[in-house]
Amino acid sequence: MKASFAFRIWVSLLGWGVALAMFFPVAWMVLTSFKTEIDAVATPPLLFFHPTLENYAQVNQLGDYAGAVWNSIAISFGSTALGIALAMPAAYAMAFFPNRWTKDLLLWILSTKMMPAVGVLMPIYLISKSTGLLDTKTGLIAIMTLANLPIIVWMLYTFFKEIPGDIIEASRMDGAGALAQIRIVLLPLAGPGIASTGLLAVILSWNEAFWSLNLTAVHAAPLTAFIVAFSSPQGLFWAKLSAASTLAVAPILVFGWMTQRQLVRGLTFGAVK
């Protein structure tokens, strides 16, 4: 059906109205990050002002911002790499060599994701404390790996399922072992799928707030926790807060935009395609 011109104009206006309204808080944060602290709290709110980069230059003066960035990178990429390394052989086995337990196994893996974090807060806190893993990157990497593992396994599994089994079989006939099959056949074919699984896992652990807030203090605080800490003094730090937040959010927003379609697959466990 060819929509009428007038209809298209109305839909465009409505669509853009909705888009801008939803994006407004993010846009306002970015705008505020270029204001002076005085402009940031001006009434009426300023849409036009002399932009300054001062907040970005000073972001590190409010604490160890660079340290928090490094913690976020180490935790999210570390846990993702570990998660994929663990999940890849399992997803490969279940996708190409299913047996009568495969479905139950997959559903059990999925069910481990349903455990509410707060339900096991006390034991995890106490275990972390007694093993000296409280407020360490290692501790948080371990938790994020385990928390995201079910999603990683499922996503990899659905991507692997799309590869014709014959290709794997052929390479097996040629004498390739499991690891060689993964390296020579699977990686090139499922590369994009593995990449988007990795991106989603990075996004999830970068933005994770429950464990980050409760298990870190000074040393291992990633950006999610760090930004809370430096907003607590009720001073006029909102322009700096906005600059710090903008930097923390920007890379993940780009990742999110890149991986939006696969995200549906990953977070609905393949049930919505």
């Binding site: 807060l121 006390m122 807030l213 990742f255």
Partner: protein
């Protein structure tokens, strides 16, 4: 045996030993799923407080009794239901509307879509801080300025309407997720079926009721369950905006357990609450896993 063979794409599958490949994942997830759960159960029957080592011993069901008789508990359950229920309702309504809207062709649609889904990728602590300090602040916030212009005066959200404030923030984060999933589902709606319905002079509301909503029923039910699992766990938004207050106006079950655990260090009480949270989440999880099991061909 024959059923197995139709599932198995390779004749020699049985020759492939898969357990070495599966063991690492199964082992770590087994430990992750069982050890903390057993510990929570164990602690929930103990007198155990980290700040008072004189409190020891077996508590029987005292922690549960205390928990269930605590008026804060009832309030927390009520708040949890209000928060989760409101956000679910808002995200489904807006999600369906936005999915239909962004399924239409219009100028710059792909860019507009990116803007709509953006909030989902903003870390929860940053979302809460932006809304609290830049938008909902009663003195310098954008909303205060707008409501004053409109003649309502400045609203101090987190003092007067704390739960509504949190619901707005959380809904803003989850509408993009609902939109994205329902939009994906919309795109699998058969265009010819839509056309046929249109030819039969089905107008907007009829199209919605007889074609679009039935098609979206399954994705919506999946969405409801997944969102519920995540929304029961909402923490950072409350932690940052109201810390559960004023009074216990925004203390949900999750937040109450956190307070018992890491503010009062009441291991026994927090664990009893934890068991309750696990049971609640598992009721939803049961239906979610069952639905996914039906929908995914393995």
């Amino acid at each position: 045996m024959s059923a197995t063979q139709t599932l198995v794409p390779h004749r020699n599958a049985k020759l492939m030993r898969t357990w070495p490949l599966l063991t690492p994942v199964v082992f770590v997830l087994l430990v992750w799923a069982i050890v903390p759960l057993v510990m929570t159960l164990w602690f929930s029957f103990q007198r155990y407080n980290l700040v008072d080592p004189t409190i020891t011993g077996f508590a029987g069901v005292d922690n549960y009794k205390f928990l269930l008789e605590d008026p804060a508990m009832l309030a927390a359950l009520f708040n949890e239901v209000v928060l989760v229920g409101s956000v679910l309702a808002i995200t489904i309504v807006f999600g369906v509307a936005f999915a239909i809207l962004f399924d239409q062709e219009f100028w710059g649609r792909s860019v507009a879509r990116l803007l709509v889904i953006a909030p989902f990728f903003v870390m929860p602590t940053v979302s809460a801080l932006i809304w609290k300090n830049l938008l909902m602040n009663p003195v310098s916030g954008v909303f205060a300025w707008i409501t004053t212009k409109l003649g309502f005066g400045a609203i101090d959200w987190f003092t007067n309407y704390p739960m509504a404030g949190i619901v707005i923030i959380v809904a803003w984060q989850w509408i993009p997720f609902a939109t994205l999933i329902l939009l994906t589902a919309m795109q699998s709606l058969d265009r010819e079926q839509m056309e046929a319905a249109r030819m039969d002079a089905a107008r907007g509301p009829q199209l919605l009721r007889f074609v679009i909503l039935p098609h979206l029923a399954r994705p919506i039910s999946i969405l409801l369950m997944i969102e519920t699992i995540f929304l029961l766990a909402v923490f950072a938004e409350i932690f940052i905006t109201t810390s559960g207050g004023p009074g216990d106006a925004t203390t949900t079950l999750t937040y109450l357990i956190y307070l018992r655990a890491l503010v009062n260090f009441d291991v026994g009480g927090a664990s009893a609450g934890g068991v309750l949270a696990i049971i609640l989440a598992n009721i939803i999880a049961f239906f979610l896993v069952r639905t996914i099991a039906r929908n995914v061909d393995i």
